[in-house]
């Protein structure tokens, strides 16, 4: 009964909007949507509400929403693309991990994007071929994400560090880690059993050495992976891994144990995601006012960018049966109302300026969003690296840390992968 009342109310709201109401009458049929969040508690609830409201808006539409497993998502996408029997709309990652890898099976959306949408949404470089915001656009940014350092102010205090003055340079980061270690506190947390933890730290350290132009040059092959710049980032990471991480880091999983350890105050800092998972959503409830955030520390680059891109991106497959319907869904989920639902239900940061955080949002979240929206930002390393380069780096860096190979050899081989057709 409640659901019926809710539906009726939603329909009444949208019917009141004349133009939208006219469009609603035109759309019908079944829409298949895939993502890797539908089965998670908060994200899943947000997506279910989005589906419900979309169907209320378009009564002739049914949505077949499939929550695919996170760790095999792209294998399933790849298989579906091969047989052209997959989703009409797919949630994708930004950059080379997602949209920019599947260029053959995703529909260019340039002709459908309106000027209003262009100006309201950020992050177009993460969905444009060649990282070009004006290039072929293969997905619409759905939320704001990026890589930050979260830290535990109580542990900083305990180690004699100023909890309100987090590190701003790499040297300060090392000094803080040293002081924490001396106080018997594990400086950095996370987990790297699946290789993702190291990638997370790479993303957060990368801007200290690469400014936006150099980042793009690395991505487009104009700066080699075995050159000095990328070597510097790796040397910094390897040094931190060797000195300041929990001994169990290599055998634990970031998304579960890594998060739990930071929540429990077992590590002072963690490279996390600005939105979504391994984020403030998981840390704020436990740490409260003791949760702090700082951004990529400065190094050779004195004013580093914050590594930011779209969070999940919404794309249409080339084989979508009803492309107008698929586009309507994408418009809705990435629009102001979609952003509102995602933020209110799942705590996802909005990338669409048509929605602003409510006044009662935690100050921590409002401040971080303000920083991400006003500071210099650019795509993070793993979004810029070709996927096979990123995957090879994940393994190679483990070999270097374990003494199986030298950093020189590893980066030389990485460059060979980059050059492979």
């Amino acid at each position: 009964m409640l659901r019926m009342v809710k539906r009726a109310a939603i329909m009444a709201v949208f019917t009141a909007i004349g133009a939208t109401g006219a469009m609603a009458a035109e759309l019908s049929g079944e829409l298949t949507v895939w993502d890797w969040q539908y089965t998670s508690e908060k994200w899943g609830a947000a997506l279910k509400q989005i589906d419900e409201e979309f169907v209320a808006l378009h009564p002739g539409v049914t949505i077949k929403h499939v929550g695919q497993p996170n760790d095999t998502y792209y294998q399933l996408i790849q298989a579906a693309n091969s047989s052209e029997t997959g989703p009409d709309v797919a949630m994708m990652h930004a950059g080379t991990f997602g949209v920019l890898k599947y260029t053959d099976s995703l529909e260019p959306l340039n002709d459908r994007i309106t000027a209003d949408m262009r100006s309201a949404i950020k992050g177009w470089e993460s969905v444009g071929v060649g990282f070009d915001p004006d290039g072929t656009i293969l997905g619409i940014p759905g939320s704001l994400s990026g890589w930050v350092f979260y830290y535990n102010k109580a542990l900083f205090r305990q180690a004699g560090l100023d909890p309100d003055a987090p590190p701003t340079t790499f040297d300060e980061l090392v000094a803080a880690a040293e002081q924490l270690k001396a106080a018997g506190i594990v400086p950095f947390g996370g987990g790297n059993a699946d290789g993702w933890g190291n990638l997370q730290y790479l993303n957060s350290l990368f801007p200290a050495t690469f400014d936006a132009a150099a980042s793009q040059d690395l991505a487009n092959g104009r700066i080699p992976y075995n050159g000095d710049k990328f070597r510097t980032v790796n040397e910094q990471l390897i040094m931190l891994l060797g000195e300041y991480f929990d001994p169990g880091y290599a055998s634990t999983v970031l998304w579960t144990e890594g998060v739990a350890a930071f929540q429990a105050g077992q590590a002072a800092m963690i490279a996390g995601i600005a939105s979504d998972t391994v984020s403030f959503n998981e840390f704020l409830p436990d740490l409260g006012d003791d949760l702090g955030v700082f951004y990529a520390p400065a190094g050779a680059v004195s004013d580093p960018y914050i590594p930011v891109s779209s969070g999940p991106v919404w794309s249409m497959t080339t084989y979508a049966a009803n492309k107008d319907l698929a586009w309507a869904y994408i418009e809705f989920v990435t629009g102001a109302r979609g952003a509102e639902i995602q933020n209110q239900v799942a705590g996802v940061l909005p990338i669409n300026s048509g929605y602003t955080l409510p006044g009662d949002a935690p100050a921590f979240v409002r401040n971080m969003l303000h920083d991400l929206q006003t500071e210099d930002t650019f795509l993070y390393a793993s979004s810029l690296m070709k996927q096979d380069v990123a995957f090879d780096w994940v393994r190679k860096i483990q070999d270097v840390v374990n003494g199986v190979t030298s950093l020189d050899d590893a980066l030389g081989q990485l460059q060979a992968v980059q050059e492979k057709d």
């Binding site: 792209y74 053959d104 096979d388 374990n402």
Partner: protein
């Protein structure tokens, strides 16, 4: 009324046989022969899984043979092969003990066979958690004062592959024991009685009675295990280590999956698959030839 001749009866039998075989042959054709043929074709193409494959001749094979990841995986597979004696002889020894009526034989049989009924995914996930640095096994070592032996079992490249091999052996041990027990049940008990009367030790009995009597089964199990180490370890690797750390537990069948579904290079993955087929066939046929040669009267 004319009588049907022998030729006509023979022909109708052939037709009947063919009709009975047809469904099975069709299944074989669709699910085995055609995919193998397709994989063979794709191995000569560049294909990302979408669109039309582009013919590139033997370029994939040339690239695979100089690919450090392929060579690392091949080296790891050969390391796994070194464990074959343990894999083959271990179950035989246990089967002989159970067959010989060791106290608690039925209990041991059940315990040894139990892992064989567990899904590889369950086994992998279980050991993945058990063997973490702060996991139950290391905690146990620390609790009993052996903390110095606590180790990154699956995260240290020097121990990861040996540990994976031990887990593989543990998981498949029961099937080997069961197969050997079936073979031992066929051995004439009088041979054991005679050995006992002759005063043979347990070891001598196994060497002169059990081994010759189960030789065919040992050969069979050897070839099955040999093929399995190349073609069926994927779920264990996926759940235990994902081929890591680095490439230290990366095996060839995992590479086929990785190249296709992570790398999106279906043509390249097919080339690795074809080479895997060639390697497995060559090693298996050589083993069978050596076994047969060993049976020939000198």
């Amino acid at each position: 009324m004319t009588e049907r001749g022998p030729a006509s009866i023979g022909a109708s039998r052939w037709v009947a046989a063919a009709l009975f075989l047809l469904p099975a042959l069709a299944v074989l054709l669709v699910f085995r022969i055609v995919p193998i043929g397709q994989a063979f074709y794709l191995s000569f193409t560049k294909w990302n899984g979408v669109g039309v494959p582009e013919w590139i001749g033997g370029a994939n094979f040339a690239a695979v043979l100089s690919d450090p990841v392929f060579l690392a995986a091949l080296k790891n597979n050969l390391f796994v092969l070194l464990s074959l004696p343990l894999w083959v002889i271990g179950p035989l020894v246990v089967a002989a003990m159970i067959h010989g009526g060791v106290p608690g034989a039925r209990f041991f049989r059940l315990m040894v066979f139990l892992p064989a009924v567990l899904s590889p995914v369950v086994v992998g996930a279980y050991y993945n958690v058990l063997l973490r640095y702060n996991g139950p096994f290391n905690r146990f070592l620390r609790d009993i004062g052996l903390g110095d032996f606590a180790h990154q079992w699956l995260s240290d490249p020097s121990t990861a592959l040996p540990v994976v091999v031990l887990i593989l052996i543990w998981a498949t041990f029961g099937i080997g024991v069961l197969i050997y027990l079936a073979a031992l049940a066929q051995v004439n008990p009088e041979l054991y009685d005679a050995a006992e009367v002759d005063g043979a030790s347990w070891f001598q009995t196994q060497r002169h009675v059990t081994l010759p009597a189960t030789r065919r089964t040992v050969e069979f199990w050897f070839v099955i295990v040999l093929i399995s180490t190349f073609t069926t370890v994927f779920p264990f690797i996926y759940t235990l280590t994902r081929g890591g750390p680095g490439y230290s537990t990366y095996l060839l069948d995992y590479y086929v999956y990785d190249a296709a579904f992570f790398g999106g290079s279906f043509g390249y993955a097919s080339a690795v698959g074809v080479l895997l087929l060639v390697i497995v066939s060559a090693i298996s046929l050589t083993s069978i030839w050596l076994f047969r040669r060993g049976q020939e009267p000198s």
